[in-house]
Symmetry: C2
Subunit: 121 residues, 2 copies
């Protein structure tokens, strides 16, 4: 039962596209990640994914539109929907998703990170 | 699939201690609420509750300590833990909790609000 200071937690994150866990509740993780550049197209068969931009700006490319999210904006990518996150400049993002969610969803790519208990910050 | 702008959503909220739903994912709701004054002591038997302060400052009183949360700080109240949120000045808070969570947990008080599909903003 500790206070989670988002700024302090983001300071602990070095790489991009490597979500770190900051809280667990009700079978869900709260994760933080820095985005920069282009992630891979993927979808999550069984899990919806919540994005909240804490700092900066990201685009979530969908097959038929682009969702631009600025600081203080959120978006849910429903399960099964292909998406590709992109950030021109470094952005800080909070994610809510089930514990079982693999970051690259239905694909294993060079960007895939296994999220397990080693990934707490 | 719409962008959720937290500032715009908070502008739609008039009262205090009346959570409004802004997103649903994986059996959980993302809710926003304005806090001011003192809420009731309560606990949630089966649900952990995530608090993120978007603006202002709140205290979460526990039976043995006080957790002070400022903008950009988060806290998880584990299931079963009695807590009493307090805010001296108006604060804006994001909550993440299961759909079934009743705001006042194990107690029905004058502050209890039934959260259902009428409570989306």
């Amino acid at each position: 039962m500790k206070t989670i200071n988002l700024n302090q937690k983001f300071d602990l994150i070095d790489g991009y596209w490597q979500p770190k866990i900051v809280a667990q509740l009700n079978g869900q993780y709260v994760k933080l990640a820095k985005f920069k550049g282009e992630f891979d197209w993927h979808s999550h068969e069984f899990e919806d994914e919540f994005f909240q931009v804490i700092k900066g700006q990201i685009d979530i490319l969908l097959r038929d539109q682009v969702i631009t999210l600025r600081q203080g904006e959120c978006f849910v990518v429903p399960k099964g929907v292909e998406h590709k996150p992109v950030a021109t400049e470094e952005a800080q993002v909070l994610l809510f998703e089930p514990i079982a969610t693999l970051q690259t969803g239905d694909k294993t790519t060079p960007l895939t990170v296994n999220i397990d208990d080693q990934n707490w910050i």
